[in-house]
């Protein structure tokens, strides 16, 4: 490795600039390279408008929950409760719509408010009781799993789901864009504006960048951290709702696996554009890499075991390119 280092030091300015581009855009280049590869491998099925819409549609829910998680990690905390929370929200919305016959908009508002409350609880335990966020959110997540179980006795709520509720997720918007994609764009766009373009976003970034400095400068660090958890909780709720609509049922632990996907997207994204910083745009890129990777491998029809191997490799290579480019360029 030190050979690489020494030789890199002798690189021409042009080579350094090229490496710099890799450092900034490594993950995006990786995404594009992957899309190009799959387009060559499966020219008929992969690079079509309908497949890309399909992939985006599929990935929207993961992107929304990952967008929320991004806010939690931007303020320097982890939120492990999101998957469990989304599962609970899915059961709850189905229950509210099917059993309690609430109008759908009201049910949606109630569930998203509950998501905010869960975020508030997480934030309170982390900032005021000062429990490490890993334990706090894992604990809250476990409790939520229990509550989901208590609400549904573990049995999925299936019968009598109204068509209008299914249309939340299956419906399409103007120009035939699926609702999920619209929701994703609205949420991620809103989060991006919030973080990058508002005064509050400055405080959010400051808390994540250096909580001590932010505190000394008079930023109410605890409040900002709580806000991060609340947004994370609300996004989990929205994902839970859309998932229940997509599945057509409220099922315990249906959304649990989003936790890992969201983490992968967020951490993949942190290697995009900025070195190791979490940001909404990066998360979007990260989620796209995961979604297109899954889709492309599926469509190509790689054997199951190699799908795993390649998915793992895609993660490492996408980040590795950016990181290596960065460390070589900066030496």
């Amino acid at each position: 490795m030190s050979n690489v280092a020494i030789s890199a030091r002798r690189l021409s300015p042009g080579a350094k600039a090229a490496l710099g581009i890799f450092a900034r855009y490594g993950t995006i280049i990786g995404l594009l390279a992957m899309i190009a590869t799959f387009s060559i491998l499966s020219p008929g099925a992969f690079p079509t408008v309908s497949n890309f819409t399909n992939v985006l549609n599929q990935a929207s829910l993961a992107m929304i929950i990952a967008g929320g998680l991004t806010l939690a990690v931007v303020v320097g905390e982890l939120d492990l409760s999101i998957g469990f929370a989304a599962s609970l929200h899915g059961i709850l919305i189905t229950g509210l719509v099917v059993h309690d016959k609430l109008p759908i908009p009201l049910a949606v508002v109630i569930v998203i408010a509950l998501g905010a409350v869960i975020g508030l609880v997480n934030g309170f335990i982390v900032t005021k009781v000062k429990v490490n966020s890993v334990i706090a959110t894992l604990g809250v997540g476990t409790i939520l799993t229990g509550l989901a179980f208590a609400y549904s006795a573990g049995v999925p709520i299936v019968a009598g789901v109204p068509e209008a509720f299914l249309q939340l997720s299956l419906g399409r918007w103007l120009f035939g864009i699926p609702n999920n994609i619209v929701a994703m764009i609205v949420v991620l766009g809103g989060l991006w504006l919030l973080v990058e373009r508002t005064p509050l976003g400055q405080e959010i970034q400051a808390v994540g960048g250096n909580a001590v400095a932010a505190r000394l400068a008079g930023v109410n660090v605890d409040r900002i951290k709580i806000l991060g958890f609340v947004i994370s909780g609300m996004c989990a709720a929205l994902t839970g709702i859309l998932l229940a609509s997509r599945l057509g049922s409220g099922t315990a632990s249906a959304a649990d696996s989003y936790l890992l996907t969201a983490f992968a997207a967020v951490f993949l994204g942190s290697a995009t554009l900025r070195d190791g910083e979490f940001h909404v745009l990066g998360t979007l890129v990260g989620a796209l890499i995961i979604a297109f990777g899954f889709n492309g491998l599926n469509i190509f029809g790689a054997p199951t075991f190699s799908q795993y191997v390649l998915q793992g490799a895609i993660l490492i290579i996408a980040v590795g390119m950016a990181s290596l480019g960065r460390s070589l360029a900066e030496r």
């Binding site: 030190s2 280092a5 020494i6 030091r9 002798r10 504006l193 373009r197 508002t198 005064p199 976003g201 400055q202 405080e203 970034q205 400051a206 960048g209 250096n210 001590v212 400095a213 932010a214 505190r215 000394l216 400068a217 008079g218 930023v219 109410n220 900025r274 910083e277 030496r331």
Partner: protein
Amino acid sequence: MAAPFLVARDIAKAFGGTQALKGVSLDIAPGEIHGLVGANGAGKSTFIRILAGLNHPDAGRVEIDGQGREIGTPQRATELGMSFIHQELAFVPGMTVLQNIMLGVPKKTRFGLTDWRAIARDVAPIARRVGISAPLNAGVKGLSTAEIWLINICRALVRKARLIVMDEPTASLAASEAERLFAIVRDLSASGVAVLYISHRLDEILSLCTRVSVFRDGRSVAELAGDALNRPALVEAIVGGAIRDVQRAATARQRGDVVMEAKKLTRAPKVHGVSLQLHAGEVLGIGGLVGAGRTELARLLFGADRPDSGEMMLMGRPYAPASPAAAVQAGLGLVPEERRAEALFLSKSIAFNLGIANLDKLAFGRYLPLMNRRARTSMAGEMIRSLSIKAQSASTPVGRLSGGNQQKVAIGRWLQRIPKVLILDEPTRGVDIGARAEIHRLIRQQAEAGMAVLVISSEPDELPELCDRVLVMAEGRIVRELTGPAVSRKAIVEASYLEPEAVMEDHPA
């Protein structure tokens, strides 16, 4: 005098078993420049942190404009018109200069979005006034400590603070930057802003302040003003007695063989063609302005960065350390510039921090790779005594020490190891006058025992006090060598402003 802006009475504060403040009182009038001095660990920073709402006093009261106030949080302190520049500088590395200036300050918006253009328009004149030269939209990552200080000062001005508290502002500033800071402070004072000014540099205190409070062991022991405010009185109040003055080694000592040599060392953009020789038994100083590239040079010598070109020799053999670990193996030691970020393990004990570079001495033996904890404790105890580190015990976490005492731990690590070459980057930053004399004495003692010592300092008086020979750097090049009697404050400052191109040829150091 006008009614005081701030009055603090009998403030007390304990941390666990340490009584950091036993009862201090102080008042500050609008427009006053009030000095605050005291030895390391006297409680100055703790007092400031209480005013800032970061710590909560166990007893005592604070009045602002004559009204009793509870300062629960930093936000509250800000609302009450106070602004702080803490000893351990705080900024957000990923943000721009402007974003850092506006940290925690309410911002102008358009349609709910931050209106950076309008903000920049408002901030630009203030930034110019305090002398920020970097563009407002540049990242703060590469900026010098001095510029980050200026950012903090700028923030206080943008906030229109009525009291600005500065905890050792000049510790990391060069003379010229310090001069500019003094001008700003006087300016502020003239416009009615009160300044509470903490420093270990008594000259500054004497020239700036009209009134000075002295803390010793957590108590206010004196308030000096007018004629009573002079150097001997200050020293007396700080240490509670007279102090041995630092004595410059009268005769130039025998210097030994060349231990370390650098030839045309270059690492763009900070270091260009630096050549130097370091002898056993000498204390070689490197002077210059902040940003002259001295830290970068030290990092090259220590293997923390790799040069673009040039060679190094150690003990007559080629030396190209691939890492600091290799440098340490080869017999080097480095006390870095930023102690908290680069030298210390804040949550770990003093013994841990001292022992980390001396692990080979702490094992029971080659075949029993367990650590001799008793040896570690006793070694730490010795160092605590010989550097008079103010701490409860060797197991106190370093993060709980005062700034100056932390610095002593960072140095002590290497004094214990006794390397062949010791590089000290700003060794007495934030260290009180007593301890500073002690550290100087130890450095000289090591040199006398044969160690080769390289000292980087931005404090004008330090190098003449300490060094046998001084190299002055400017813009990454060595521009002058001063030896023996030629080493003086004046000569160093003069050389610091030399144009490197003009002198390169005739001063091949």
